[in-house]
């Protein structure tokens, strides 16, 4: 009575839906190579990857949060605030710290902890009080940026303990460590969301939270976990960025979140929850990174750059829509 015999073609196609942006990436590589000889050099491509490493962790975090049907705008503030507060707990008051003087080795765990705490607080407001995730995390974005500006009084922190600089600036096996870290975390994310019970639970919750609850998934607990993980990843992104830049400016992370959403969505993650993959999100990050790099290399006038940039996002979105076959939300 049923059609179980051969795996029908649609199913096979579905597997490749994650990869709808691969042709776009290929086109960008070809166009880039054509436009500028530097583009296809190992050095330049390594630069692109390193430049995207920190923001890609935010995309990873946001993709998971979106798949679980939620929203987190405040990640971008955590990128600056978590490492900044951690550093201020460590460095002397004369260098802009709080004068508490915790040991310098603690600065990375502290930053991650602060990120996790911000995530947990977001989760608390959104899950416990059932507030709108968009507005809660928008308010938290503003507040957390205030927690960077307030204690530093708008100044850049540049006397940093070496420990926090290490990850973002060192090189392992010929590649910047940040690339290895982001790569490993993406691999874990791709695997976890495809093959772990917890990962699949995110899809169930994002797709229909009531049904997930009725299927025995501890929805609230999983959501807390996702927000906390999101905050922690954002803090790690902040650590990598701090190492790359060598200081924590007052605008670290500011303005990233839109790019993060753009990357996730053109990579096939739905804003409505329950749809998309981490691999897709990764292709989204790469597209955005390559576009930025090419625009820089060919030196498009700064005034018109946004137009080209936005237009490319639109085109990528259309390709992802046409190849994906389904309406986006």
């Amino acid at each position: 009575m049923t059609t179980l015999s051969a795996p029908p073609p649609r199913m096979r196609l579905a597997r490749f839906r994650d990869l709808t942006l691969v042709p776009v990436i290929v086109i960008l590589l070809v166009v880039g190579a054509f436009l500028d000889p530097t583009f296809l050099t190992a050095g330049n491509l390594t630069n692109v990857l390193q430049q995207q490493a920190a923001i890609s962790l935010l995309v990873l975090a946001e993709a998971m949060i979106l798949i679980a049907g939620k929203f987190d705008l405040s990640l971008e503030s955590t990128v600056g605030t978590a490492p900044a507060i951690a550093v201020m707990l460590v460095i002397p008051a004369s260098a802009g710290g709080f004068g508490i003087g915790l040991p310098g080795a603690l600065v990375i765990p502290l930053a991650l902890l602060i990120g996790a705490a911000i995530g947990a607080f977001n989760g608390f407001l959104i899950i416990r009080f059932q507030l709108s995730a968009f507005i809660v995390t928008l308010a938290m974005l503003i507040i957390m940026h205030g927690f960077l500006q307030g204690p530093t009084e708008g100044k850049t922190l540049f006397q940093l303990p070496d420990s926090i600089l290490y990850l973002g600036s060192t090189v392992w096996l010929g590649l910047p460590a940040a690339i290895w870290i982001a790569g490993a975390l993406f691999a874990a994310g791709i695997f976890g969301l495809a093959y772990l019970r917890l990962g699949r639970a995110l899809y169930a919750i994002g797709g229909n939270a009531d049904a997930a609850r009725a299927a025995g998934i501890r929805v609230d607990r999983v959501l807390y976990g996702v927000f906390i993980l999101g905050g922690t990843l954002a803090a790690l992104a902040g650590i990598l960025e701090t190492g790359r830049l060598g200081a924590i400016g007052n605008n670290q992370g500011v303005g990233w979140i839109f790019m993060v959403f753009a990357a996730a969505v053109i990579g096939g993650v739905s804003m409505d929850g329950g749809k998309g993959t981490i691999l897709g999100a990764l292709t989204g990050v790469l597209v955005i990174g390559l576009v930025q790099n090419i625009l820089t290399l060919i030196g498009v006038s700064g005034f018109w750059q946004p137009v080209i940039y936005g237009a490319i996002i639109l085109v990528a979105l259309m390709i992802s829509r046409i190849a994906g076959g389904k309406a986006q939300d």
């Binding site: 630069n47 430049q51 850049t156 540049f158 060598g246 400016g249 670290q252 790099n293």
Partner: protein, 319 residues
């Protein structure tokens, strides 16, 4: 790198512009190719980091990848470029920064006017006009910008020490005209006896301030006792226009033309292997020693009704 080397004295100069949304920087951006022509430097297409230090790092890395032998940049965040400067030093690429002075990392030359001096000049002017008493408002830029902070701190410090009778209200406008207008309007409602305004950026603050004063009926000539003394900062043509009309009283002219000229001048000099020493220069400025390099402090004149028609002011040269 596979880049072809152009003519001129020893290699290409890469330049990154900091932002494209203020009149001052846009004038600077316009002067750059013109000055490059005059100085005969081999300038690469400029990049623009849109006020984002992460983008600045990406852009400079790309420029170096494309074969830049010297870099001109204007980091709006002076701390977060430390690593970048270190990288460039390792690659023996000299750096000229414009407008801001990096906190850490080696620079060949900093080309800037003294932003603290702007604040002090504005304070001296307003303090004198108000006779050392009354209330003034300063419309700040973004608090995270070093220049904004310098102007603000110097202004407040000078007011406190030299004109203790003057009350200062500081309004953080984030370089937004809309915020500036609202905050000024509210403050004037609360303190109708405000007599002076210092605007950190004429480009964004000028029109909203004039419009607000006009609505309140306070846009009157200096002879009128209701007149509010306004000092601006930038030196764009519209400010001069307003000074001539008597709508505002003074502005500090940031030398956009000189920024562009001397940035390229020093970048070229660096490629040619020239060195400089602290002391006065041939162009009315002084070079001072910094822990991490040198700084050429260009003159930034206060423009009032008396000298507003001076042809040498860059704001009078733009058409």
């Amino acid at each position: 790198s596979g880049a072809t080397s152009g003519g001129g004295g020893g290699g290409k100069i890469g330049i990154d512009h900091p932002r494209a949304d203020s009149d001052f920087w846009n004038s600077y951006i316009k002067y750059v190719p013109q000055m490059a022509g005059e100085l005969k430097v081999n300038l690469m297409p400029a990049t623009n980091s849109q006020n984002d230090v992460a983008k600045l790092v990406n852009n400079v890395q790309a420029l170096v990848g494309q074969g830049a032998k010297a870099i001109v940049m204007a980091p709006q965040d002076t701390g977060a470029v430390a690593n970048l400067l270190q990288q460039l030093e390792n690659k023996k690429i000299p750096v000229v920064t414009v407008d801001t002075r990096p906190d850490k990392g080696k620079v060949y030359m900093v080309v800037r006017a003294d932003n603290r001096a702007y604040g002090t000049k504005a304070c001296e002017f307003l303090g004198g006009k108000l006779g050392g008493k009354g209330k003034v408002v300063q419309l700040q830029g973004a608090l995270s910008s070093i220049n904004g902070r310098d102007r603000s701190e110097a202004f407040l410090e000078c007011m406190k020490t030299r004109f203790p009778g003057i009350t200062v209200f500081s309004e953080p406008t984030e370089w937004e005209g809309s915020k500036a207008a609202s905050m000024l309007q509210t403050r004037l409602e609360q303190n109708p006896d405000i007599k002076g305004i210092y605007m950190h950026a004429g480009g964004v603050h000028l029109a909203p301030t004039l419009q607000t004063l006009k609505q309140k009926g306070l846009l009157v000539p200096p002879s009128d006792p209701k007149h509010i003394f306004v000092v601006s900062n930038d030196g764009i043509p519209q400010e001069y226009e307003s000074i001539r009309k008597g709508d505002i009283d003074a502005t500090v002219s940031q030398p956009a033309d000189l920024y562009a000229k001397y940035a390229l001048f020093y970048a070229k000099a660096a490629l040619e292997g020239k060195t400089f020493k602290p002391g006065p220069t041939d162009h009315d400025s002084t070079i001072i020693q910094l822990p991490n390099g040198l700084e050429d402090q260009l003159p930034a004149p206060l423009v009032t009704k008396e000298n507003v028609d001076d042809k040498s002011l860059w704001g009078n040269q733009v058409k």
